[in-house]
């Protein structure tokens, strides 16, 4: 099971001038997952990424990437990572081709022709082949981001770390980034931080939420979206539902019914203790009442924004 872990942190923390940027963090990222790392500004996401890359030193705790210690074996760690910083900065006098060649030479010793071929492959992949020999100083934000994604992939990384990869992109750029991440899932693990919750919900399979330097949740996205109140079914009904409600309340597997009225209809949120029993009987019990019409039935799915806000605001209230 441990072999399956790409990133493992144990009580990893970082303090800057007495201020805890990251409180002791235990994180596990599994192989071939797309791991969304969420949190408001200043939550400690970038600090965690920089700790993994050896750009800052831990105050306490430890972490490993592919079994290599992030402090003692930092070169081995970085050899297997492709990294796109939040605001990538390159040498402005270099062209896109020179930047990719410079990056590739940290990972490959040769032969030169193969390195050039790899550079050309990446230029094609990120759509910069026609601008390959132009100095970067004339590049737009989108072109810079494409170059950033390209340089992060030049070594065919086992782990791709992206810090806010879509923050400065237009919708098409965002879509391209998500497509690249999805394609990489088969051979790489993607660890990325973002504020854009829609993107996380679309591509991530596991999510961790950080708030004020502290981990408030880490779970597979389906588990997180199912909510913290157990299994909940949502039933939208029209008409007088008092009898049906009384009938359902009497079932031993029904824990609670929460009703959200909405003009001529209402949404029932039925918490159950036995999902199988609910699946088999719930709809049938409601439909037994001839006075009501069911317009929607299904397992309640929260969206990530609801979960995120609930967790962050709940965490803030506790402090």
């Amino acid at each position: 099971m441990l072999d399956d872990l790409v990133i493992r942190t144990e009580q990893l923390s970082k303090t800057f001038n007495g201020v805890a940027a990251l409180k002791p963090l235990d994180l596990e990222v599994r192989r071939n997952s797309i791991f969304g790392f969420l949190g408001p500004n200043g939550a400690g996401k970038t600090t965690t990424i920089k700790l993994i890359l050896g750009l800052v030193r831990p105050t306490s705790g430890s972490a490993s990437v592919f079994g290599h210690d992030i402090v003692g074996d930092t070169i081995d760690v970085r050899r297997r990572i492709g990294y796109l910083p939040q605001e990538p900065h390159y040498y402005e006098y270099m062209t896109a081709r020179e930047t990719l060649r410079f990056t590739a030479r940290f990972f490959y010793t040769g032969p030169a022709a193969a390195i050039e071929a790899r550079v050309n492959e990446i230029l094609e992949l990120v759509g910069l082949a026609d601008r390959a020999d132009r100095p970067i100083k004339g590049f737009s934000a989108g072109e810079r981001q494409r170059l950033g994604i390209g340089q992060a992939q030049v070594n065919t990384p086992d782990l791709l770390i992206l810090d806010e990869p879509a923050a400065s992109l237009d919708p098409m750029g965002r879509r391209d980034v998500l497509e690249i991440m999805d394609k990489l899932r088969e051979r790489s693990t993607v660890f990325y931080s973002t504020h854009i919750l829609d993107d996380v919900q679309r591509v991530s399979d596991t999510v961790a939420i950080l708030n004020r330097g502290e981990l408030v949740a880490q779970a597979p996205i389906d588990e997180l979206l199912a909510g913290s109140g157990g299994t909940v079914y949502a039933i939208e009904v029209k008409g007088d539902a008092s009898q049906a409600r009384a009938r359902i309340s009497g079932e031993p597997w029904v824990r609670d019914i929460h009703i959200v009225p909405d003009s001529d209809r209402a949404e029932w949120q039925v918490s159950v203790t036995d999902a199988e029993a609910a699946e088999a009987h719930l709809l049938r019990l409601v439909l037994a009442d001839e006075h009501i019409t069911v317009t929607r039935f299904g397992r309640k799915r929260y969206n990530l924004e609801e979960v995120f806000l609930e967790l962050i605001e709940g965490d803030d209230r506790v402090r």
């Binding site: 920089k50 890359l53 050896g54 750009l55 800052v56 030193r57 070169i75 081995d76 970085r78 050899r79 990572i81 990294y83 910083p85 605001e87 990538p88 900065h89 390159y90 040498y91 006098y93 270099m94 020179e98 410079f102 990056t103 030479r105 940290f106 990972f107 490959y108 010793t109 040769g110 032969p111 022709a113 193969a114 390195i115 071929a117 790899r118 050309n120 492959e121 065919t156």
Partner: protein, 265 residues
Amino acid sequence: MSASAALEISTRHGWLVGFGNMVAKEYASWWRTRRAVVHLLLWLFVINAFILLIGLDEGPAGGRNSPLELLEELIEIFIRVGGLFATIGIVVATQSTVVSERQLGTAEWVLSKPVSRPAFLLSKFVVNGASFIWLAVAVPATVFYLQTLLHAYVQPALLPFLAGMLLHIQHLLFYLAFTLMLGTFFHGRGAVSGIAIGFLFGGLILPSFFPWMTGWLPWALPSLAAMAAQQQPLPAGSVIAIIISLLWTLLCILVALWRFEREEF
């Protein structure tokens, strides 16, 4: 066959991993941009054009000096005055080498790749040093060597002149190491260049009040360089002063490496 199949993956380890690639990058920043040409023209203008003016004023046409006296004067000016400009030049040219990479975020990006911090820093010392010495010492010194024929009708003896140039280079390398070291401590160019140039001018003023300082700091090198190039015997204790200067350079590099290893990006 895909390109990736033929690629040889680097497995290098050690404290200088990535050094070769960093050297190539630093080299390109000098020689594949206009930077080298600008420096070449600047130093030819500042040093050799200045010597030309002095030579025309004080040369045989002026008739105030004998050829040998004029040669000694020109060597003195070349090393002391030209050297002063070159020292200020190396501080200004390299003041932002570390600072701006840190501020712009390029250092963070590069150091996220498999490259060691000593390789990052030492490549800057090696390439900036070699490039600057080539452009601000080797070329102007060669031109000067030919110029002396024009002005004084004699040339300096080659080996003593080269010995003088070596001491001049040693002086410049100290200021390069000192500037890089300051760049690892301070986050602003002003502090880096201010302290380095302040130290340089301190070397011109303070020894008048505290002569013992000259022997313990790299301030004696310009005068020793001029004396060597003029074939004058070096005063007693010169070798120790030269060795101490070398040790200061080494110390600056070691401190810079120590500090940079602890830098957080």
